[in-house]
């Protein structure tokens, strides 16, 4: 506690990417992922262009390569699953290192790996350069219903408190000799979850009272009114545009 860092996914830096308005980054990331998703899997060169684009932006954002690589590990479970496809898929079979695999399956694996890596890379880039409150503000400016962004904001704010409360409860249980090993010992955990629910509900009531006390009347006030400039939109559009053109060309070639 007391540290200035906001979130484990965020990298504190002063790069042009960090400075971009959050709604611009959100829109660009979404468009980029969309372009990657529609790129035909046979167009390996298009994925190379996409990867180079993400790499370039990561450089520009001064995100440490090791940081990005470590965060990319999240897709490993999915990739592991993808590696099964060549063995179980039907169709024409070829020999790779003396093992017979399905060619269609191989393409399928490649497809998942390439798109998952690029998608995760973009997400890491977005989260690494945009703090959570900024992200929420960006969503708000992209006309996501304010009820949803408000719920998300409260979740972000109170999740840590809830986790801390849960931690204290577990400590208190352990301190009194509770060491669950069997299913029939689960009752205290269920009771604890119930207590936690009641406490959260009560906190909700108190927070609501605090909001009313400061003039809340049903809508969150607009506090930060800075809107993204045209230059910001253009700068951010360059990445998804590159991927989009690559995807379009690849689609044209395939067709």
């Amino acid at each position: 506690m007391g540290a200035g860092h906001a979130h484990p996914l965020y990298v504190h830096e002063h790069s042009p990417v960090h400075r971009l308005a959050p709604e611009v980054k959100l829109a660009a990331a979404f468009a980029f992922v969309l372009a990657v998703a529609v790129t035909p899997r046979e167009a390996i060169w298009a994925f190379a262009i996409d990867a180079a684009t993400v790499g370039l932006v990561i450089r520009l954002a001064r995100l440490p390569v090791r940081f990005v690589a470590a965060r990319l590990a999240i897709i490993l479970p999915f990739i592991a699953f993808a590696f099964l496809i060549p063995f179980v898929a039907s169709g024409e079979r070829i020999d790779v290192l003396g093992v017979s695999v399905s060619q269609v399956g191989l393409w399928g694996t490649w497809n998942i790996i390439a798109k998952a890596t690029l998608g995760a890379g973009v997400s890491i880039l977005l989260a690494g350069t945009t703090e959570v409150p900024q992200l929420l503000r960006g969503l708000e400016r992209l006309r996501v219903p304010p009820t949803l962004t408000t719920i998300a904001a409260f979740m972000v704010r109170y999740l840590e408190l809830l986790a801390a409360e849960l931690g204290r409860m577990r400590t208190a249980m352990t301190a009194r000799g509770y060491d669950p090993r069997w299913l029939w010992q689960v009752r205290p955990i269920a009771a604890g979850a119930g207590a936690l629910f009641i406490r959260s509900y009560e906190r909700g009531e108190r927070v609501h009272a605090a909001m009313l006390s400061r003039g809340y009347s049903g809508a969150m006030p607009t506090i930060d009114e800075r809107v993204a400039s045209r230059r910001e939109w253009l700068a951010a559009a360059s990445a998804p545009l590159t991927a989009g053109i690559a995807a379009a060309v690849a689609l044209a070639v395939v067709a």
């Binding site: 904001a153 400061r214 003039g215 607009t222 009114e225």
Partner: protein, 252 residues
Amino acid sequence: MSHAAVQISGVRFTYPDGREALCGADLRVEHGQRVALLGPNGAGKTTLALQLNGIHRPDAGDVEIGGLPVTDPNLAEVRRRVGMVFQDADDQLFMPTVREDVAFGPANLGLRGDELASRVTKALEGVGAAELADRAPHHLSGGERRRVALATVLAMRPDVLVLDEPTSGLDPAGRRELIGVLQGLPITQLAITHDLPFALELCERAVIVDGGRVVADGATADLLADEELLHAHRLELPFGLDPRTVPPSRPR
């Protein structure tokens, strides 16, 4: 001035579960006065405080803030006039950053742009927390959190400040900083507290609430010197504190 900063007359209040929390509470606080609200747990202190800005509404009796009755059409203005600092700062700080949280109140009052920004800066400076503006509330220490919670309320420029257990859970240095800030505020203050030395230092007047009504009212030093009275209402001076030997807090 004919009207008081706070005027509570014959207020009765029963919670939905049937528990009668206030049964005929009367209290008048003059402009600029600092009053300590003392009393045992469950006496109705917090319930009484929540009457002041209409979070709870009395079943009987009247509440007036600066002559303005607490009624539905006046609620917005009443809530501007009464700044409520809640006991748990985590209830008070609900926005993602300190800056947004302090801006929440004045933004609800309709302030925007530069005016809003300067309101936020001044409020944070007032509690010595200007450097915390971009932090997330859950990354603050207890003392910082309490001062920021105070700033969120001061940003609305209230006439009356209501503090619920402001010193609970603070370390001595945090408590000292808070007292310093409160002493420098030239507005009416009502502090619910179990911290009797705090009451003695900050407030020239104290009232004891018990059983849902005001049972004692007087100069803080006199009240705290009455051992029998304190004992009857589950209050006790900290060991070694003699209010008669402490220079009294001066009315301003």
